[in-house]
Symmetry: C2
Amino acid sequence: MMEIRVGILGLGTVGLGVARMLIEQQSLMAKRLGKKLVLVAAADRNLERDFGLDLSGVRLTDDAHDVVTADDVDLVVELIGGYEPARSLVTTAMQHGKHVVTANKALIAKHGEELLPLAAANHVALAFEAAVAGGIPCLKSLREGVAANNIESIYGILNGTCNFILSKMEDEGADYADVLKEAQALGYAEADPTFDVEGIDTAHKLSILASMAYGSHIKFDEVFTEGISKISAADIEAVAELGYRIKLLGIAKPHRGKDGDKVEMRVHPTLVPLSSQIAQVADSYNAVMISGDFVEHTVSIGRGAGERPTASAVMADIMDIARVTPGGLQFMAPAMGYMPDERQDLATLDMSDVQSEYYLRLQVQDESGVIAAVTSILADHRISLEAMQQKERNTEQTVPVIMLTYRTTEGNLQAAISRIVALSAVEDDVLILRKESFAT
Amino acid sequence: MMEIRVGILGLGTVGLGVARMLIEQQSLMAKRLGKKLVLVAAADRNLERDFGLDLSGVRLTDDAHDVVTADDVDLVVELIGGYEPARSLVTTAMQHGKHVVTANKALIAKHGEELLPLAAANHVALAFEAAVAGGIPCLKSLREGVAANNIESIYGILNGTCNFILSKMEDEGADYADVLKEAQALGYAEADPTFDVEGIDTAHKLSILASMAYGSHIKFDEVFTEGISKISAADIEAVAELGYRIKLLGIAKPHRGKDGDKVEMRVHPTLVPLSSQIAQVADSYNAVMISGDFVEHTVSIGRGAGERPTASAVMADIMDIARVTPGGLQFMAPAMGYMPDERQDLATLDMSDVQSEYYLRLQVQDESGVIAAVTSILADHRISLEAMQQKERNTEQTVPVIMLTYRTTEGNLQAAISRIVALSAVEDDVLILRKESFAT
């Protein structure tokens, strides 16, 4: 039976998961593939530890360069993460005629447009299913499963850390800072959680999904990105009473305007109806909701991270590549879903032109006329209110007032807010959350 | 640009959807595929009607044989349904060197094992994504996305008609017969609904999923199949109070026993926890939950039927085949997920050996000692009760008693029930529903 020889860069959690699968599932995969996948080499900085796995027969090295240039490696799995040295190693591997599979969303979101042509030029495959929502084969579904559809929207819960924190905050009525500490203690959040909780990780993943859906190179630094660190237990309770739950969503939609086609791209905490499928996705689970003009709505839910689910996605890519090796590379679906010369450069819709409904939390002095002044400004901007709540009464200090608006543009809403906070009875610190409706 | 020429058999709902996609999405698909898909011919018994679609340029015929033998057709889409003439036409098409895409679950479940080798012998592809849960690319996910996993279980809501009826019964507190009439009036159920409501359609689809997951030829007539026609509004209300909802599920699991590997295959109304993802799947939506030893749990939700979602799945198959045409057929994932010579013939686990928890509805005389007699029989069979409810009191006629049991085998449960109904104070007509727990 033909063998495809695999080298792994990085024996961290996911790297060991991939090594485990290559060893434990070899016979199962051979039955499905007709070829044998063999782990021949692995690189890691620290080899002096117990891997919890029998790696005898695998060449271990602390020099990743050895693996990406080795004559006996057909396919390199990059699991180091981050931009460098991952980018250089992937480049060298491809220049040495090796296929590359990676779980590195930052690398693909930032350097994908440079790496994909390099793969083509070197007649190798570059695959990255594990970079987005590990346990959900969402890139394959988007690229192949709904390939005949115009994609009308993508909504994703793409960061397990944020979803875990928001779920815990709701379950325990606890505030953000306390739950973050708990998540850090459990290993669900990093010591420096910025990347996750500020939405950057979600923006990386959303950029990859949208690039594939719209045949465009989406620059992730143009994605409007807002994290979850300003959400309080009180907000979660207040939105629940109104029939909503807060999820950190990545949202992408096409936008056809007077000045041409653009893509709406945003990551922010979002009010979703309690009855929606996406509201039910709890703990560290991820979800991807794709709507197309023919398929209608599909929601896929699964683990977004972790050794085993991410390894499963890496292995699916390895099997897809092994299937066309040798001689069939040109028969694979294009990595970004469109033929390379059919891709275009769509502009990102300016956030001020994005339409949404809004949840507003204002701190106001509890005196007559304040609410009237606020609603009068909203009316000036033609912003209609769906609901308004002022629960506390307190003449000594400001009290929270919650408002739900109907649809308006972000620019118009922000203009109204800047006038509202100029009122002497309203504090500057207004929490603005966006709200979405779903067909399911 | 290279052209792949398509012929359609059957211009019903789905056939017209496929024709519409081939016409309206041609340019989008070409950008993703690098090839042009062209609708050249279509066969339908009744051509004297308004198709609501401009089919000029398409050769229309009332003789399907013309399409499957035509020189200018590369790929035939079979959307006639049923066993014959679909089977003969598909056979002829493949013998004439044409690839075949079908949405016909009955055909694949019953004749797939004969048609797949025929496809191989004629060097053509046979694909059937649309046969299972139309809007969910679940066959592709199972065959390719989680291909490196041992599949631990499959749970599917695979029939939109049943899910629509059960959802309506709950929403409206209405009984089965009334909701069925409503579903028939709305076109959600056929005039003769047997195929759907008795679980046969679900068994077809489950057989295809399990054949792919376990590399075995599953005979759908060995699948234990029970429909939803015995469920009453009172049952739905009673299970809701206990924290459950009733869904018609197809369930497949591997079973390793003393007498070798088998597959557990069953279709029946099932109590699922209200908090589970699968319980949230309402109306005519379908869902497929796949658990694997590495990927853990994935749930995909989408439309199971309808012109547009089913056409989307057919088109995904067409694009997969077009991508490898010409010259790349051997690089496609094997249609049934395993290399043909690695497939085996696993026996179906006898239903009496299947383990489950149970919901029982007994009609008993409201007199002292009856419950004691029933529970004593259950204790004899080592069946423990999780809950028991007798709400009504009536000395004139029998009253319903509801019991939830802990896990036991079907054989043991049935033995206990046959002793229970032999009690003079218990009516013969016991409703037995099975109950499943989920990790998510």
